[in-house]
Symmetry: C2
Subunit: 350 residues, 2 copies
């Protein structure tokens, strides 16, 4: 080192080479907490109304609640919002003209929707198209997005929680809010959150809630939950049919259960009584389905006495010629087999 | 189970209790990749100009380059931006009137700033206050923020990389861009990134770059880097002073080194020559500092012959009475000690 001291050892000739080799050594820096801190701060901004450029309007009960948010975050977190807002977002300046004005009739049918109070009345969840309003040109850029047609009437705290999830990736799910969270997650296409709701319900699946949970699972295409609920219902069908929940099932599910060859029941007679109860629960709507469902009962496994005295005299049966015919056929099968039995007894076939 | 089948076992009396105990079991759901995916998508939005509501203008060389971004993200990522934009952000609608109009004179002094080409000329980095422009009322909300007074004239790709870091927490740092990244990180108060730049430089600290790296470390208050560079410079000061880099050091650093009692040098004579070279490198600016720095040389360790023939005849010395006085005093010390030595030789003090 001493010898080279005078000749400027750190300079000139070999510098280019050294520099090149050093330049190849790029280092990647990733700040681990950066993204979660960023998300947390954007969430705080939203709560404080800082830099928000979109107002979401939720029909909650009879009232409209508004929640301010950032288009950028909602679009980044949710395909639902990114597709909805993309027409606007392509202009670098929000509030520019040309925003889509999507309108949909409000379906208005709001059910309470907690697990023990009944399943949604239709097979597919409402995906009511939201209405995107923009102010007239020249006004500020804060557009308004109205979200209607909820099957589980979300309360404001749950809406806030799901929006906050879109910001932070974190949410607290409870038995009380899981149905609403699930509907919001489904609507906003939050796949991970939706899957979590399914697992949450799976861990709490009991005989008491398996019927409505099964309906929800079908509604939101939660296959594993649906399969597990189905297995539970099949095994305990003779108990489940006495639940209030069963009375609230829609026709297609009752038909599906009655046609299921794996359900366990005490007797076909019991099944007949449950069917009558289900129809009478909303006779006006359900009477038309009686004939089809009655056809699913194995009448030949009901005793001739019960068939002729109870089944045939039930007004839903006696007023329907197809049902009466089925009862007659069943009685005929009984008569023939009884005759065989009697003849066997007296030794003709021995 | 069979016995209870008729009494509706999953309903009524005990339901409230069960529900309560279940409700206590809230589950926290955290989607691990959510935040990083969110960040990635917001970064993609920025590149596509989606939902951006701020234009950053960078003076790069003689030209202005603009980069579109989201106020929300910049504010969430950087205290610099959050403080700057907060006056605007408190209104839920960006583009509202009342935005601050901060102006600062452009300092214009742009140096190339890569490690081997020289340190910033002043001790403290320029933190030129940016200019925030908003359009006249009624126009769109996209404000413009002009960022001037860079000491290392950032190139557009580095600016893009640092802005992307604010979105994603990820950046690729190279020897080529580290100075600019450091300046941007310092200016935008990105503490983690700044610290990483310091570590990056520390891993590449060599005799060849220790002088400018030390200057940078002081400029940006990177204490560990500064300490490590100081130790290296002290140990090899006799080599370092022959670097071109040393010639570009500002006065306060040259004084600091010359006053440092821990530097290793071959001779005070060499130090004198380096001082003369440093002053002559920019004589007009530096001549005024010669006297103070000359006072730091241990003249009594230079031989009388060199003092009288070379030092005293150097024009910087001969034109300065204080310096001439110092040389005379040193020669006097030499004369006295030489006399003592001679007397000792002839046995007077034996």
């Amino acid at each position: 080192m001493a010898a080279a001291a005078d000749s400027d050892p750190m300079e000139s000739s070999c510098e280019a080479e050294d520099e090149d080799s050093l330049e190849e050594e790029a280092e990647e820096f990733s700040s681990c907490p950066h993204c979660s801190e960023l998300a947390q701060r954007q969430s705080e901004q939203r709560k404080a109304g800082h830099f928000t450029d979109l107002t979401l309007m939720f029909s909650i009960g009879a009232r409209l609640h508004s929640v301010a948010a950032h288009r950028s975050v909602l679009s980044a977190a949710s395909t639902f919002f990114s597709e909805l807002l993309s027409a606007q977002g392509s202009a670098s300046s929000p509030g520019a003209s040309g925003a889509p004005e999507l309108r949909t009739p409000s379906s208005g049918a709001l059910s309470s929707g907690i697990p023990s109070s009944g399943a949604p009345s239709s097979g597919a969840p409402s995906s009511g198209t939201p209405e995107l309003r923009t102010p007239s040109s020249g006004a500020l850029s804060s557009g308004t997005l109205e979200l209607r047609a909820w099957s589980s009437a979300p309360d404001l705290s749950t809406v806030e929680a799901v929006i906050d999830y879109m910001y932070t990736g974190h949410i607290s799910v409870t038995v009380r809010n899981v149905n609403q969270v699930l509907e919001l997650a489904h609507r906003f296409l939050l796949v991970d959150l939706k899957a979590f709701c399914g697992e949450f319900m799976m861990r709490r699946l009991t005989l008491k809630n398996c019927v409505p949970v099964h309906s929800l699972a079908l509604t939101y295409s939660l296959e594993r939950l649906s399969n597990k609920a189905t297995a539970l219902i099949r095994k305990h069908f003779h108990k489940v049919i006495h639940d209030k929940e069963f009375q609230t099932l829609p026709f297609h599910l009752v038909r599906s259960w009655m046609a299921d060859s794996e359900i366990t029941i005490n007797s076909e007679q019991e099944l007949f009584q449950v069917l009558v109860d289900w129809v009478n629960h909303d006779k006006e709507e359900r009477e038309e389905h009686f004939e089809e469902l009655f056809g699913l009962i194995r009448l030949t496994q009901i005793s001739p006495v019960y068939l002729s005295r109870v089944v045939r005299s039930q007004s839903l049966v006696s007023s329907n010629s197809t049902c009466l015919q089925l009862v007659s056929e069943a009685l005929e099968v009984h008569a023939v087999s009884l005759e065989h039995l009697t003849l066997a007894d007296v030794g003709l076939y021995s």
